[in-house]
C-alpha cells in the first residue's frame, strides 16, 4: 500500500499483515475470539515478534508489535466455514513447529482460506438431507421426507443466491425463511400430515447454531463484548427467520388453508 515501505526493507510489517489476514479469515469464518487471538499470538511468536498485543472484536481486529506498527482489519462479511478454521489452525501449529518464510506463509494462508469448499450444488444436497433428517426428528412421518428435502435445498439455494447479491444478512434470512415455508404449505394443502415437521426442517437450515455456540464459548472465556454481540446477532437472525416464516403461514391460514 505504502510505496515507502517496500517489503524487502522492513519485513516486520509484512509478517504483521499476514498475521492480521490469518486472524481476519478465522474471524470471518466463525471462529471464537479466543481462538483467533491464540492463533495470531502463536504465529507472532513463531516469527519472533515479542511484544505483540492482539485485540479481537467481532467486527474488527488490531495487532500491534511493540512500538513499530499496528495493523487494523475491519471484518464485514461473516459466514460459517469450519474448513477454513481447521486449515488455519493446522497452519499455525505447523508454522510454530517448523518456521517457514513469510512469503510461503502468505501463500499457504491463501490456500487455507479457500480450503476444501464443497461445490454450491453439493451444499444444496447437504441442506436437503439435513432438513429431511430434522423433519423426522421433529415427529414427521416418512411421507414428509421429500417436501422437507425440497424445502432444505430450496432454502439453501435462495440463501446462496442472496449472499452473492450482497443483501444485508437480516433481509436475506427473512426472504430465505419465506421461501423455506412454501414446500410445507404445498404439502399441507395436498393433505400431508405433520406439515410442521417439514417447516421446522426447512427453517433449521437457517438457524444460527454456530453463533449461539461461539457466543457461549466467548462468554465463558471472558470475551464479553463478542459474546454480547453474537447473542444479539443470533437473536436478530432468529427474529428475522420467525418473521419471514410467519408471513406466508399467516396468509395461508387467513385464506382458510388446511394445517394440521
Amino acid at each position: 500500500m505504502n510505496p515507502n515501505r517496500s517489503e524487502g526493507q522492513n519485513p516486520i510489517p509484512k509478517v504483521l499483515k499476514v498475521i492480521a489476514d490469518a486472524g481476519m479469515a478465522l474471524l470471518a469464518s466463525g471462529a471464537e475470539v479466543a481462538r483467533v487471538e491464540d492463533t495470531m499470538q502463536r504465529l507472532a511468536k513463531a516469527y519472533a515478534l515479542d511484544a505483540v498485543e492482539v485485540i479481537v472484536l467481532p467486527t474488527a481486529l488490531f495487532v500491534n508489535a511493540g512500538t513499530q506498527t499496528t495493523v487494523i482489519r475491519r471484518i464485514r462479511g461473516r459466514s460459517v466455514n469450519l474448513a477454513v478454521v481447521t486449515a488455519i489452525n493446522q497452519l499455525s501449529r505447523d508454522v510454530s513447529r517448523h518456521p517457514i518464510p513469510v512469503d510461503d506463509l502468505e501463500r499457504r494462508l491463501e490456500e487455507a482460506r479457500n480450503a476444501a469448499r464443497y461445490r454450491p450444488s453439493a451444499n444444496l444436497l447437504f441442506a436437503g438431507v439435513g432438513a429431511a433428517a430434522i423433519s423426522q426428528l421433529m415427529g414427521g412421518s416418512p411421507i414428509n421426507l421429500i417436501p422437507a428435502f425440497i424445502s432444505g435445498a430450496l432454502t439453501q439455494f435462495v440463501r446462496q443466491a442472496l449472499r452473492q447479491t450482497g443483501v444485508a444478512g437480516g433481509v436475506a434470512d427473512l426472504v430465505s425463511a419465506i421461501v423455506a415455508v412454501l414446500p410445507a404449505l404445498a404439502a399441507a394443502h395436498m393433505g400431508e400430515p405433520h406439515p410442521g415437521a417439514i417447516l421446522v426442517g426447512g427453517i433449521m437450515v437457517l438457524t444460527p447454531g454456530l453463533l449461539i455456540t461461539t457466543a457461549v464459548r466467548d462468554g465463558i472465556q471472558g470475551d464479553l463484548l463478542s459474546a454480547a454481540a453474537r447473542i444479539l446477532e443470533a437473536l436478530l437472525s432468529a427474529g428475522a427467520i420467525a418473521a419471514g416464516a410467519s408471513l406466508p403461514l399467516y396468509l395461508y391460514l387467513a385464506l382458510g388453508g388446511r394445517w394440521v
Partner: protein, 143 residues
C-alpha cells in the same frame, strides 16, 4: 430410539458438510450427535425431567467435542456446531409461532418461553463443558 439417534447422526453429518467439515472430523461429529441425542432422549423419558435431556445432551456434546478436539488437535467448534444443531429448539419456536398466528396467545407464550428455557439449558450445558471439562483434559494431558 435407535432410529432417532441415527437420524440425529445424519443431521450432524449433513450440517457438518454444509459447514464445510470433511473427513474423519465429520464421522466423529456424527457419532457425537448420535450418542448425545440418544442419551437426551433416554433422559427425557424420566417423568418430570423437564429440560434435563437438553442440558445433559449439550453437556455431552461439549465434553465429547473437547476430548475429540484434544486428540485430533482441531478446534472443538468443528465438532460442537454440527452436533448441537439437532438440539436447537426449532420445534418449540415453530409451535409458538403457529399458536400466535392462530390467536392462541397463552399457548404461544408457553411454547415461546419453553423454547427460551430449552436454549438456556443447552447454553449452560455447552458452557459447563467448556469451563469444566476443557481444563481437566488440558491439565491431564500436560502431565
Amino acid at each position: 430410539m435407535m432410529v432417532s439417534a441415527l437420524l440425529s447422526g445424519v443431521t450432524a453429518v449433513a450440517f457438518g458438510l454444509l459447514y464445510q467439515v470433511s473427513g474423519w472430523t465429520l464421522v466423529i461429529g456424527g457419532l457425537i450427535g448420535s450418542s448425545s441425542w440418544g442419551l437426551a432422549l433416554l433422559l427425557s423419558r424420566i417423568p418430570g425431567s423437564g429440560f434435563l435431556g437438553d442440558f445433559v445432551g449439550a453437556l455431552v456434546v461439549g465434553g465429547l467435542s473437547e476430548i475429540a478436539a484434544y486428540f485430533r488437535q482441531q478446534p472443538a467448534l468443528v465438532f460442537v456446531v454440527p452436533a448441537i444443531i439437532a438440539f436447537v429448539p426449532g420445534d418449540l419456536v415453530y409451535q409458538s409461532m403457529v399458536s400466535f398466528l392462530k390467536d392462541h396467545f397463552l399457548q404461544g407464550l408457553q411454547s415461546g418461553l419453553s423454547a427460551l428455557l430449552a436454549a438456556g439449558a443447552i447454553s449452560i450445558g455447552l458452557a459447563l463443558a467448556t469451563a469444566v471439562i476443557r481444563p481437566l483434559i488440558r491439565r491431564s494431558g500436560a502431565k
